[in-house]
C-alpha cells in the first residue's frame, strides 16, 4: 500500500473545473494526484518528479496535449500517457498515437469508472515494464562483458 501511495498521477487541463472534478473523482484512489493547468506547468512537475501516469487534455491554449505527450515520451519515457479530449477527431488520435505513444485515448465526458480503470491499467503496464527494465541491465551485462 505504501508503494502505491508513492505512485504519482498527473492531470493536465486548462479548465480548472475539470481538474477539480477529476480530483474529486479520484480522491479515494491509492495514488497521489498532481494537477497542472498548462503544458508548461506539467513539464516543470515532470522535471522534478517521477510521474507514473499523465492524463492530458488535448485542447489547451499554447502547447497542445499531443505535443506535451510527445515531449513526455522523449523526456520521461517511463510515464504512461493517457489523453482525454473533447474533440475526438482522427487527426488528434493519429498524432497522439504516433508522436505521443499514448496508452489510452479517452473522450470527454468519461465516467469515473472508465477513468479509474484506465489509470490502473496504465500503472500495471508501467510496473511490469519497469520490472523488465530493471532486469534488463543484468541480462545484458554478460553480453557486454563478452563483447
Amino acid at each position: 500500500m505504501s508503494t502505491e501511495r508513492d505512485t504519482l498521477v498527473l492531470i493536465v487541463d486548462d479548465d480548472v473545473n475539470v481538474l477539480r472534478g477529476l480530483t474529486r473523482a479520484l480522491r479515494h484512489q491509492p495514488f497521489q494526484l498532481l494537477t497542472a493547468r498548462s503544458a508548461e506547468d506539467a513539464q516543470e512537475i515532470l522535471k522534478r518528479w517521477l510521474v507514473d501516469v499523465v492524463i492530458c487534455d488535448q485542447n489547451m491554449p499554447g502547447t497542445r496535449g499531443t505535443e506535451l505527450l510527445a515531449w513526455i515520451a522523449e523526456h520521461s519515457p517511463r510515464t504512461a500517457r493517457i489523453i482525454l479530449t473533447g474533440q475526438p477527431d482522427l487527426k488528434t488520435a493519429i498524432e497522439a498515437i504516433n508522436r505521443g505513444q499514448v496508452f489510452r485515448f479517452l473522450t470527454k465526458p468519461c465516467s469515473d469508472w472508465d477513468l479509474v480503470m484506465a489509470i490502473h491499467d496504465a500503472l500495471q503496464a508501467v510496473r511490469s515494464s519497469s520490472t523488465l527494465a530493471s532486469r534488463r541491465p543484468i541480462t545484458r551485462l554478460p553480453e557486454s562483458a563478452a563483447g
Partner: protein
C-alpha cells in the same frame, strides 16, 4: 434629156437668163443667143422677172418669135408678170411650208419615240427603287429588274437583255446571243457580282436613237449596285440587330437608350413585350410608372453627373426579379447626350449567393458541432464527477447520520472511517455544488448561442444588443480562433440597441472571425508573428453605430477585392474561398440592414473592415416616407470605381438629410 441638168444654181447661170434673174430687169434680144449644148437654138428672146416686194420669186421667158420682140411685147409681158408674181410667190411659199411641216412631223415622231424609251427607262429605275422600298430581297430585286429591262426593248426586234447576278442568269426565253453587246458591271460594295447586258444588231449600235441605251445600261447597273448594296447593308444591320436582341433576350439583359430629356429612343424587344410601346415616353414613366424620376433613378443620375451609375433594384413588373442597372452616358455625334441603360439579370447571382450563404451556414454548423463537442464535453466531464462525488458523500453522510450529528455536537470523537472530514464539509461540498452550477450555466449559455445560430433565417429585425451578438459570435468561434490568434474586444458600453437580424448578422460576424483566423494562419506560415484580432464597437452619432474589425493576417488581394464588386463575381467561386464570405457580409449589412461595409487591406498592416449600421430601421422609414429627397451625397462623394466601398443610397441620403 434624162441626163440633163434641169435645176441650176443661180450663180452658175450666165447669159440672158442670168441677166434677167440677177439684175432683175426685162431683157429683150432679137438675135440668136448661145445656149448650153443640146438646148433648143434660140433666135429671139424676151425675159421678165417676177418680183414681189423687190424680191425675186420667178421669171417668164419667151423665145423664138417669128418676128422681132417689140417694146409692146415687153410691156405686155411685164404687165402679165406683175399680175403673176404674187400668185407664183404664194404657190412657192405654200410648197415650202409643206416641206417644213413634213420635216417637223418627222422630228416630232422621233422625239416622241425617244421620250417613250426614256420614259420606260425611268420607269425601270423607279420600279427598282420601289422594289427596294417594299422590302424585296436582293434576288427578288434582280429578277424583277430583269423583267422591267426586257419591257424597255419590247418594241425593238432583235434586241435582248439579261442580268447576270452571282452566277445566276436572269433572261427571257427568247434571249439570243448576238455579236454586239452593251454591258455594265454590278457591284455589291466593292465586290463584283454580275452585269447588265443588252444584245443587239450592229446597225442598231450605230443608230443615233439607240445611243441613249449605252448610257442607260450604265445608269441601271449603277443604280442596281447602289440599291443592292444598301439592301445588303440593311440586311446586315438587321441581322446584327436581331442577333443582338437575341443575345439580350437569352441572357435576360435589357438595353434601353434615352435622350437627354430621359425620353426613350430604344427598348429591347422582350421588354417591349412586357411594357408596351415606349415611343414618346420617359424612362421613369415607362419602367416605373411615375411622373418624375425618383432619387435613385440611374438614368437621371447618369445624366446629371455624366458618370456611369450602377444600381441594384427589383423590377416589380417583371416578377420582382433582381437586376443590376448600369446607366452609361455618352455624347452622340449629334452633340447631344444619351444614356444607354443596361439591365443585367441577377437572379442567378442571387441564387448562387443564396447557395453560398447556405453552404456557409452548413460550414458554420459544422464548426459549431466541433466547437460544441469541446465546449460541452468539458462541463459534462466535471458535472459527472461532481455529481458522483456529491452522491457518494451524501450516502456516506446519510448512512452515518447519528454518529455524525454527535460528532458535530462534539460529544463523540471521530472513529475509524465514519469521520466527517472538516474540509469536505466546509470546502469541497460547496465548491462542488458551485462548480456544478457553473457547468450547468455554461451549458445553458452554449445552448442559447446555438439557438441564435440555428435560426439565421429570421429576416425580421428585432432590437438587439450589438455587443452581445458579437460576443456570442466570438464565443462560438473562440475554441477555433483562440488557437491561432488572441481576440481583443473593445466594446462601447453606451452603444444603442439596434434593429438586427441577429442570426444572419451573428453568422456574418463569426464568418469574419473565422476568415481572419484563416488569414492569420496563412501569415503565420510565412513568418512567426502573434496573431491578433481586434473587434471594436462605437457609436458614431444618434443614427449610426460602427463595428471595426481588424486582423493582422495576410491582406486581401486586390483582385479579390475587385471581385466582390463585380456583378458576375459570384460566378467565380474560386476567389471567395480565400477570404470567406465578404459577399455574405455585404448582403447582410448593405442589403439586409441598409448599412455600409468598407474594407482596407494592406500587406504589412493587416485588414480592417468597418461596418456601419443604422440605429433605426431604414426600410421601415422608407416605407413611411413618400417624398424622397434627391440623392446628392453619394454622387459627390462617389468613390473611384475600384475602391471597396459598399455605399447604400440610404446611407448617403441619411447623411445628407442631417
Amino acid at each position: 434629156m434624162a441626163d440633163k441638168k434641169i435645176v441650176f444654181d443661180l450663180d452658175e447661170l450666165d447669159g440672158v437668163l442670168a441677166q434677167v434673174l440677177k439684175q432683175q430687169i426685162t431683157v429683150c434680144v432679137n438675135q440668136p443667143v448661145t445656149t448650153p449644148p443640146g438646148h433648143v437654138p434660140i433666135t429671139r428672146f424676151l425675159g421678165v422677172p417676177l418680183i414681189v416686194q423687190e424680191r425675186l420669186v420667178g421669171a417668164i421667158f419667151l423665145a423664138n418669135k417669128s418676128g422681132d420682140y417689140t417694146q409692146e411685147d415687153a410691156r405686155t409681158l411685164e404687165m402679165i408678170a406683175r399680175f403673176l408674181a404674187p400668185i407664183v410667190d404664194a404657190h412657192v411659199r405654200e410648197e415650202q411650208e409643206k416641206e417644213k411641216r413634213i420635216e417637223y412631223e418627222k422630228r416630232l415622231a422621233i422625239q416622241a419615240q425617244q421620250l417613250k424609251r426614256r420614259n420606260r427607262q425611268l420607269e425601270c429605275l423607279a420600279g427598282l427603287s420601289d422594289l427596294a422600298e417594299r422590302g424585296a430581297s436582293i434576288e427578288e430585286m434582280v429578277e424583277l429588274t430583269s423583267y422591267l429591262l426586257a419591257g424597255i426593248f419590247q418594241d425593238l426586234p432583235n434586241v435582248y437583255s439579261r442580268i447576270i447576278f452571282r452566277g445566276q442568269v436572269y433572261q427571257a426565253e427568247s434571249y439570243e446571243e448576238t455579236e454586239h453587246k452593251l454591258s455594265a458591271a454590278i457591284f455589291l460594295g466593292d465586290e463584283y457580282v454580275g452585269a447588265v447586258e443588252i444584245c443587239c444588231p450592229k446597225e442598231l449600235l450605230d443608230d443615233e436613237g439607240f445611243a441613249v441605251y449605252r448610257m442607260f445600261v450604265n445608269e441601271l447597273a449603277e443604280r442596281l449596285s447602289t440599291v443592292l448594296t444598301r439592301k445588303k447593308v440593311e440586311e446586315e444591320i438587321h441581322a446584327f440587330r436581331r442577333q443582338t436582341e437575341l443575345v439580350l433576350e437569352v441572357t435576360r439583359t435589357g438595353l434601353s437608350i434615352a435622350d437627354q430629356e430621359c425620353r426613350l429612343v430604344y427598348v429591347d424587344p422582350w421588354r417591349r413585350a412586357v411594357y408596351g410601346d415606349y415611343r414618346g415616353k420617359t424612362t421613369h414613366e415607362y419602367f416605373c410608372g411615375t411622373t418624375s424620376p425618383c432619387w435613385a433613378c440611374p438614368t437621371a443620375r447618369a445624366l446629371r453627373t455624366k458618370m456611369r451609375v450602377t444600381q441594384e433594384r427589383m423590377m416589380p413588373r417583371e416578377g420582382n426579379r433582381p437586376v443590376q442597372t448600369t446607366a452609361i452616358p455618352f455624347l452622340a455625334s449629334d452633340g447631344k447626350w444619351y444614356i444607354s441603360e443596361i439591365t443585367v439579370d441577377l437572379t442567378d447571382r442571387k441564387r448562387w449567393e443564396d447557395r453560398l450563404v447556405q453552404a456557409e451556414r452548413l460550414e458554420a454548423i459544422g464548426h459549431l458541432a466541433e466547437i460544441l463537442s469541446h465546449e460541452m464535453n468539458s462541463p459534462l466531464q466535471y458535472l459527472e464527477h461532481n455529481l458522483h462525488f456529491l452522491r457518494e458523500s451524501w450516502q456516506h453522510i446519510s448512512q452515518n447520520l447519528q454518529e455524525l450529528a454527535a460528532q458535530a455536537c462534539g460529544s463523540s470523537t471521530p472513529t475509524g472511517e465514519n469521520t466527517l472530514d472538516e474540509e469536505l464539509v466546509t470546502r469541497e461540498f460547496p465548491d462542488a455544488i458551485e462548480e456544478t452550477l457553473a457547468g450547468v450555466q455554461r451549458l445553458a449559455k452554449i445552448v442559447q448561442t446555438l439557438r441564435t445560430f440555428a435560426c439565421p433565417d429570421a429576416s425580421e429585425k428585432t432590437i438587439h444588443d450589438l455587443n452581445a451578438v458579437i460576443q456570442a459570435a466570438i464565443d462560438v468561434t473562440r475554441s477555433h480562433v483562440s488557437k491561432i490568434a488572441s481576440i481583443v474586444t473593445e466594446f462601447d458600453s453606451t452603444l444603442p440597441r439596434v434593429p438586427l437580424m441577429a442570426g444572419a448578422f451573428g453568422q456574418a460576424m463569426s464568418n469574419l472571425l473565422l476568415g481572419a483566423a484563416e488569414a492569420i494562419e496563412k501569415r503565420r506560415n510565412l513568418r512567426d508573428e502573434e496573431g491578433l484580432i481586434t473587434v471594436r464597437t462605437r457609436r458614431l452619432d444618434t443614427d449610426w453605430v460602427e463595428i471595426e474589425f481588424f486582423d493582422n493576417g495576410v491582406a486581401i488581394q486586390p483582385e479579390e477585392r475587385r471581385n466582390f464588386l463585380e456583378p458576375y463575381f459570384a460566378n467565380q467561386p474560386a476567389s471567395v474561398t480565400s477570404r470567406r464570405s465578404l459577399v455574405h457580409l455585404y448582403r447582410v449589412v448593405v442589403e439586409g440592414h441598409q448599412g455600409s461595409v468598407e474594407v482596407e487591406s494592406e500587406e504589412d498592416r493587416g485588414t480592417r473592415i468597418v461596418i456601419r449600421l443604422p440605429t433605426r430601421d431604414l426600410q421601415e422609414a422608407n416605407a413611411h416616407t413618400s417624398q424622397l429627397s434627391p440623392i446628392i451625397a453619394s454622387e459627390q462623394a462617389a468613390a473611384p470605381p475600384d475602391t471597396t466601398t459598399f455605399l447604400n443610397e440610404n446611407v448617403a441620403r441619411l447623411n445628407s438629410g442631417g
